[in-house]
Assembly symmetry: C2
Homo-oligomer: 312 residues x 2
């Protein structure tokens, strides 16, 4: 899978924040180094920005060692809320010592912001109190609420300090729950957090195109083989890497905000993480093309549909 | 498919209200007669109660001819809201002449109560105004709001006259949206209307066990081949015929209402339709068994799970 998809990301992205919720999770400095080597071998042109998965067993030493090995963020997965999170954290507030260590060594805390046990559509909103508690306790810890899906979550991020930001995916700018369960059941539109109402999607489009530096792109591009999607228990995740930039250009054009596309995709996130801007540019042209039906074993978002922008 | 599933229904049910939204829809007296013959050939022990699908083209003559051919109900499918409803009715209120003919010839109006174009979770509630308009215009037309999924819809049915009733399926007594999209994506729990919140499911359990004759069983048991469920555009429908009675016994026992099970399954519906009660009884015993993983090409609800009641 890595051989198939890493080069597709490398075609349109200079770097990628690498998620640690692989089948064997990336939880230690050693795993970080090995996984980075595998990615570099699969996609030599890509700069992988590594993360570790925070576990109940994560210690301050784990954090410092991972930081020394080059990990720039740690991601929290509450137990059971998404793909490969069965071993996630049952009580996010039990890791305060870990967050303290991350704050000291300037590691970013990435949050899958959903509370287990809640009704599927209110899990994100239920998590906001946890976000507020962590942000209040660690004013110098950089925190990213990942792949937000609701207007309420965006308001919460806006109201917190400059150390708190949110990412928005490409697919949550175009999908609602209707695209998952409203007609036939569409596993290739199924992701976590699940897309919400049309009003929420429109709010996300407003925030993404607002020019507010607290809101930037995080594709959450998640490749799953067709057989893992079209089955009795389909995995959550939408694969967008090969179409993300083209579809974003389409969305930003629809919102009359093409002049804000670069900031959303390339500036605000880098600045929040304290990274230099990338060298080079991407050539996006207004020229129709049809999204391939499949890449290797993975069906992408908008497979077979026409997009009005393409990457040269 | 008919050969596979009709005998399974016949094992536990003396009669079945046969839905007309087959691939070639049942819209005329001739189709009613042919389809009934096919069902009788596939399941000689079953008494099929026939229906026609109401179309934009349905006339008073169609209604009278279908009634003469033995159809006892006509079902309205608003366009696009469920399986095989692309040819459904775009404006339910454009069929007032049809409803008038049904009222005169004592045919029951069955409603798939969802309004197209609404957000998936509010389609049923959006339809209630249509229900109220039709019920107000035809006080002697018997109307069934089929497979209700929300507390609000149940309240609307309660508040209308004695000519309006609702059916509740077995699967909506046990599923919520969490069972469809809350964990992995589960196509075998996907149906229309989609299951709603835990509060709605609990309300349905209250109404089903309330002893109110306006609420009775309609299984909406819908067989789809595995390949039509586990695919990129999965069909809506849950297959419950072989487990419906056993699972209902379990639900009614959980609700301390076993003494109301027979009325819900066998009396209120027959009385509403003006049918004699069935002869004979079904032997339900409290004895654990495991639901088979598949019947022919169709995966049933609760496949592989243990149930505490079984039909002898």
């Amino acid at each position: 899978m890595l051989q198939d998809v890493a080069p597709l990301t490398a075609q349109h992205f200079a770097r990628a924040l690498v998620m640690p919720n692989t089948r064997a999770p990336i939880t230690t400095a050693g795993a970080v180094v090995r996984y980075r080597d595998e990615i570099l071998a699969a996609a030599p042109g890509l700069c992988p920005l590594m993360t570790i998965k925070l576990m109940a067993s994560t210690t301050e030493e784990t954090v410092w060692a991972a930081r020394s090995a080059g990990a720039i963020a740690g991601k929290l997965y509450p137990q059971g809320v998404t793909t490969n999170s069965q071993d996630g954290v049952s009580d996010p507030l039990s890791l305060m010592h870990v967050y303290a260590a991350m704050e000291r060594c300037e590691m970013v805390l990435c949050l899958h912001g959903e509370t287990p046990g809640e009704f599927c559509l209110t899990r994100e909103v239920a998590f906001l109190e946890t976000l507020q508690t962590i942000a209040g306790a660690f004013p110098n810890l950089k925190i990213v609420l990942e792949h937000v899906t609701t207007q309420v979550a965006c308001w919460a991020v806006r109201d917190l300090g400059p150390n708190v930001a949110a990412t928005i995916t490409v697919h949550h700018l175009v999908l609602t729950l209707d695209d998952v369960i409203g007609d036939n059941l569409r596993p290739h539109h199924f992701c976590k957090p699940v897309p919400k109402t049309p009003q929420d999607r429109d709010a996300l489009r407003d925030w993404a195109t607002s020019g507010d530096p607290k809101f930037f792109l995080g594709t959450d591009s998640a490749p799953h083989a067709v057989t893992a999607k079209e089955c009795a228990e389909g995995c959550a995740g939408v694969f967008t890497a090969p179409i993300a930039m083209a579809l974003l250009a389409e969305v930003f054009e629809q919102e009359n905000a093409l002049d804000r596309l670069e900031a959303f995709t390339s500036e605000f996130g880098a600045r929040f993480y304290g990274l230099e801007a990338n060298e080079g540019t991407l050539d996006l042209v207004r020229e129709p093309w049809t999204v391939p039906p499949i890449f290797g074993q993975v069906i992408p978002l908008w497979a077979g549909r026409e997009l009005s922008w393409r990457v040269l």
